[in-house]
Amino acid sequence: MSAFNAIGEEREIDREEFTPGVEPQPTWCPGCGDFGVLKALKQALPEVGKTPEEVLTVTGIGCSGKLNSYLDTYGFHTIHGRSLPVARAAKLANPEVEVIAAGGDGDGYGIGGNHFIHTARENHDMTYIVFNNEIFGLTKGQTSPTSPKGHKSKTQPSGSAKSPLRPLSMSLNAGATYIARTAAVNPNQAKEIIKEAIEHDGFAHIDFLTQCPTWNKDARQYVPYIDVQESDDYDFDVHDREEAARMMRETEDVLNEGTVLTGRYYVDDESPSYSQEKKAVGEMPEQPVAERYFDEDAEWERSYDLLDRHV
C-alpha cells in the first residue's frame, strides 16, 4: 500500500471540494482580481483530474498569499518572497505531488526575484501564478516592481523614477518553458491557461493580471483585453523563442500604454524538466525520497560502510 494514496486517485471531482467549508471567507476587497484566480483554479483542477489532496499550493505573503486559505488543497503559506524555494523542494522530495506556487508582483518579482530567476532557469516542473496588480496591496498601496514609471504612492510621492519590470521577458530569458499572461476579467482564458500550465512538464509561469480596486484606482482595470491567440492582428509561433520574445516585448510595451494583451506567449514542450535532467545525471532517485521513508523494504545505507577502516 502506498503511503500517498491521494496521489493519482481517479474519480469524479467536484469543484466544490476545493472550497473550505464556511470558514474562512475571503478577506479580499469587493472587486478584487484575486477572486478571478481562485475561481479559475477551482475550475481548472477538477478538469485536469487533480484531487485536493494531491495538490500542494505554496504561497507567499500579501493578499495573493491567502489564496490557499480559500482553496482547499494541501497548502503552505510561507513568507514574503519565499514560495518558490519551498515549492520546488517539495517537488524534489515528492515529484508526484502537484505543486502550484502563487504570490504577488511584489512578492514574486521584488523580494523573491532571485528565486524566480533561478526556479525558471532550473525549469522545475511546477506552475507559478503571479497575481500582478502593479501595487503592494496588503501593506496599503506602495509602488511595486510592476507599477508604471511615474506611479505615485505614499512611498514614492513624486512619482516612481523606475521603469516597471518586464516579467514575461524576464521569465523567458531566465529559462521558463511555459509563459502566459491572463487576466481575472477573462475567466475562460484563465482557466484554460491554468490547465495547460499544470499539464506542462516544466516551469510554467503565468503573469495573472489582477486589478486592485482599493489601492490602484488609477491603474487600468485590464479591460478591454485582447487575446493574442484569438486576434488576427497577432500572428506568431508560441514555440519559436525569437517570435515569443518579440511578442512579449510588444505586450509589455503596450500594457504601459493601456492596451492589455493576454494569451500564451511561449511554449517549449521539448526541454526536459529539472527532475528529468537531475535523474539523467544521476542526482535524483527514481523512487520519490518521501516514499522511501514508508517503504519497508528500503535499505538504509549506514555511515559505517563509508569508513576507511584500518587497524
Binding site: 470558514e23 486559505s69 497548502g75 523542494a89 517539495a90 515528492n94 516514499e291 559505517y304 584500518h310
Partner: protein, 633 residues
C-alpha cells in the same frame, strides 16, 4: 609537556598539496598504531600564502592540538614565485620557515628545502643563532632537486615525507600503501623512487643529531581517520537525512560536499541553490513534503536563514540546520575558528521563537548529536541547530570504527500514516486538525501532502488547529504555550532517555572548575588532566546543550566548586552570559578565559589561564588571551 609525542608541522603555500600530504601522513601514523589529531591553519586565498597543518601523534589518547610542535617540514611556497621571471614576491618564499619558528619547541627538528631557499635567504632569519639558543636541529635538504630529478617539482612533498620518515626512523610500509591507493603508473613509480631516495639520504648524506623518534603504539581495534565535518555528515546519514540544500561558505561547505557526493548513491537529493534564504527554505519545503532534510551555513550565510528558521518553527516543520562558525563580525576571518555566533544562533528570528541547539565538543559528539538533532527535530517538529566551528570542522582524529556500527534511524517521528490519519481528528469540512491544542508534550502529529485524509494549511501566520490564519486571542495563547511546551518536553527526554550530552572530566571533589562549550572541550580536558597531574584539584565540564539548557547539570557543577573559569573562543564571554541568564546566579563565581586571535586554544594556555585566574598568581598571561573578571570584581 609530553616527550613521547610527535607534533609534525608541514608548512608551505596554499595549493602546494599541504593538505593532502598531511592527510596521508596522518593516516600512515594512525596505521602504525598511533592516535592522531590534526590542526589546520590556512589563509583565505586559493594559492600561495602561508599555510600549515600540524599532526599530533602519540601512543596514548590525544584530544586536542598540542602545545607548540617539535618537527617542522618547511616546504617553499611555490606560488610565491612569479613563473615568468623566476622572481619572488617579497619574502613569501621564506614564510614556511620564518613564520613557524615561534611555536617550535626546544630541541625541535627543522627540515627545509635548500633547493628553494639559498643560504643567503636563510641567513636573514638568524636561523643558526636561534637554533643554538633553542637546541634545534636543522637539516637543509634539496627536496626540490630530488623531486625534479625523478619526476616533477611538485613531488617535493614526497621527498619531505621521505626525509621525515628517515629522521624519525619510521617504517615506510604504511606510506607506500597509501601512495599506492592514491596514485598509479608513472606517477606512483616516480613518487616511490623519490620517497626511497629521500629516506635513504638519512644516514648516507644526512647525519642524524636529534633524539626525537616516532612514538610507538598499537590499536586493539579498527580505526578510521575522520574530521568533524565527516562526523556530522555521517550522523546525518544515519539519522535518515536524504535531502540537503546549501550555498557554499567556508567552513560549512565540507559537510555540504560530503553529503552531495554520497546522497546520489543513497536515494537522496542534494541541491546547490542561489542563496542561503533559498537553501533553508528548500530544506523546509522538502521536510514539509516528507523528506528528512537539512541545510546549513556559516555566520554570514546563517544570517539569511533566520527567516526560514522562524517559518519552520511556526509551521512546526522538522528541520536540521548547521552553523559552522568562523571569526566575525561580517566576513570576519573566513578560515579562522571562533565561537562567536552563540547568541546569534540562540536568539535569531522573529518573536518568542525557540529551537534546539547542540554544540558538540568532539568528533564523536558531533556524530552523536547530529543523529540526535534529527531524532529531536522529527519527534518534536522543531528546528534543531548544530553549532560548531572551523576547528571542529577541519580537525581529523582517529575513532574506533565500532563507534559507528549501529543502526540508522530513518523514522519520520511524529508523522502519521494514512491509517492513523483516518482515526485522527478532523473539522467539519474534512480538514485534519494538524495543530491541535490538546497534546501531552506539545507535539501535535502531522500529515504529508499527498496523504489521504491529511489536508491542512501550514502557515507562518498564527493559525487555528487546521491551519487557517487566526488572530483569535485564546487560540494564540494555546498555540504559543503548546509550542513552548516542546522545549520542556525535550529537556525531559534528554535528561531521561539519553546519555548526557555534557562531558565531565577530572576529580569530582575538585574545588576549582573549568567550564567550556563546543570545540574548546578537547583542550580543556587535556588542561584539566595536566593540572591534576601537577597536584591541583580541578575538574572540567564541556557543555553541549545550548538550548534547552541543562540547568541541573550545570548548577550541580557550579555549586560543587569554589571558583570556575569559563573558556571560550570569543571576545564577549557569550557562553558565560548564557549560564548567568539561564541559572540567574553564579556571576560572582565565574571568570572568563577568552581567546579570539583566530587560533584555537592550546592546552598550555588554559593551564596558564588557571594559574593566573584561579590560583591567583600575580602576573599577566603570556598567551594571546583575555581575562574577564567575575561579576562585581
Amino acid at each position: 609537556m609530553s616527550d613521547d609525542e610527535l607534533i609534525w608541522r608541514i608548512a608551505g603555500g596554499s595549493g602546494d598539496g599541504i593538505d593532502s600530504t598531511s592527510q596521508n601522513f596522518a593516516k600512515a601514523l594512525m596505521r602504525s598504531g598511533l592516535d592522531v589529531f590534526t590542526h589546520r591553519h590556512y589563509p583565505s586565498r586559493i594559492r600561495g600564502g602561508h599555510t600549515y597543518v600540524e599532526i599530533r601523534a602519540a601512543g596514548h589518547e590525544v584530544q586536542s592540538r598540542g602545545d607548540g610542535y617539535n618537527f617542522l617540514l618547511a616546504l617553499g611556497d611555490s606560488f610565491a614565485r612569479n613563473p615568468q621571471e623566476e622572481a619572488y614576491y617579497g619574502n613569501e618564499e621564506l614564510k614556511p620557515l620564518s613564520e613557524n619558528l615561534d611555536d617550535l619547541r626546544e630541541g625541535g627538528v627543522i627540515v627545509y628545502d635548500e633547493g628553494l631557499l639559498t643560504e643567503d635567504d636563510v641567513a636573514e632569519l638568524d636561523l643558526e643563532e636561534k637554533a643554538e639558543e633553542n637546541g634545534w636541529h636543522v637539516y637543509p635538504v634539496d627536496l626540490r632537486g630530488l623531486a625534479k630529478e625523478h619526476g616533477r617539482e611538485v613531488m617535493r612533498n614526497t621527498a619531505g615525507v621521505g626525509v621525515t620518515a628517515g629522521l624519525l626512523e619510521m617504517d615506510l610500509e604504511h606510506i607506500e600503501d597509501l601512495m599506492s591507493d592514491a596514485m598509479s603508473g608513472d606517477v606512483l613509480e616516480s613518487n616511490l623512487d623519490i620517497l626511497h631516495e629521500a629516506y635513504e639520504m638519512v644516514g648516507d648524506e644526512i647525519e642524524v643529531e636529534h633524539d626525537l623518534r616516532a612514538p610507538e603504539g598499537e590499536h586493539d581495534a579498527e580505526q578510521a581517520l575522520l574530521s568533524g565535518s565527516n562526523a556530522i555528515a555521517y550522523g546525518a546519514i544515519d539519522g535518515g537525512c536524504r535531502f540537503i540544500a546549501g550555498y557554499p561558505m567556508t567552513p560549512w561547505t565540507d559537510v555540504f560536499t560530503i553529503l552531495s557526493q554520497n546522497f546520489p548513491k543513497m536515494g537522496g537529493v542534494s541541491e546547490q541553490v542561489e542563496d542561503e534564504i533559498a537553501a533553508a527554505a528548500l530544506a523546509v519545503g522538502a521536510s514539509h513534503a516528507g523528506a528528512k532534510a537539512m541545510s546549513g551555513s556559516s555566520g554570514g550565510g546563517f544570517a539569511l536563514m533566520s527567516e526560514p528558521l522562524g517559518l519552520a518553527e511556526m509551521t512546526e516543520t522538522p528541520l536540521v540546520l548547521l552553523e559552522s562558525m568562523r571569526a566575525g563580525p561580517s566576513t570576519g576571518m573566513p578560515t579562522k575558528p571562533e565561537q562567536g555566533d552563540l547568541e546569534f544562533v540562540l536568539y535569531t528570528s522573529q518573536g518568542d521563537s525557540s529551537r534546539v541547539v547542540f554544540a558538540p565538543g568532539s568528533i564523536e559528539e558531533a556524530y552523536e548529536q547530529t543523529r540526535l538533532a534529527f531524532h529531536i527535530a522529527w519527534e518534536y517538529q522543531i528546528p534543531t541547530i548544530i553549532i560548531y566551528d572551523q576547528k571542529l570542522s577541519g580537525e581529523n582524529t582517529n575513532v574506533d570504527v565500532a563507534f559507528f556500527d549501529r543502526e540508522p534511524e530513518p523514522g519520520l517521528g511524529s508523522t502519521l500514516t494514512e491509517e492513523e490519519l483516518a482515526e485522527a481528528a478532523h473539522d467539519n469540512s474534512g480538514k485534519f486538525k494538524r495543530f491541535q491544542h490538546e497534546s501531552e508534550n506539545g507535539v501535535s502529529p502531522r500529515s504529508l501532502p499527498g496523504q489521504k485524509g491529511g489536508r491542512y494549511l501550514a502557515t507562518g501566520n498564527e493559525h487555528s488547529p487546521v491551519g487557517h490564519i487566526s488572530e483569535d486571542p485564546d487560540n494564540r495563547v494555546y498555540q504559543m504555550d503548546r509550542r513552548l511546551q516542546k522545549l520542556e518536553s525535550i529537556r525531559e527526554e534528554l535528561d531521561e532517555e539519553h546519555e548526557s550530552n555534557q562531558a565531565a572530566f577530572g576529580d569530582d571533589d575538585a574545588e576549582y572548575g573549568i567550564i567550556t562549550w563546543g570545540s574548546s572541550q578537547g583542550a580543556v580536558q587535556e588542561a584539566v588532566e595536566r593540572l591534576n597531574e601537577q597536584g591541583h584539584a580541578v575538574k572540567g565540564l564541556g557543555v553541549s546543550d545550548m538550548m534547552p539548557f541543562p540547568e541541573a547539570e550545570v548548577t550541580d557543577f557550579l555549586e560543587s566548586v569554589d571558583e570556575a573559569m569559563v573558556v571560550e573562543m570569543n571576545a564577549t564571554a557569550q557562553f558565560r552570559g548564557l549560564i548567568q541568564k539561564e541559572l540567574g546566579r553564579f556571576g560572582e563565581k565565574m571568570t572568563s578565559l577568552l581567546k579570539y586571535n583566530g587560533n584555537p586554544f592550546e592546552p598550555a594556555e588554559i593551564v596558564e589561564g588557571y594559574e593566573v585566574n584561579l590560583a591567583d598568581e600575580d602576573r599577566e598571561p603570556t598567551a594571546q588571551v583575555r581575562i574577564e573578571p567575575a561579576a562585581g570584581d
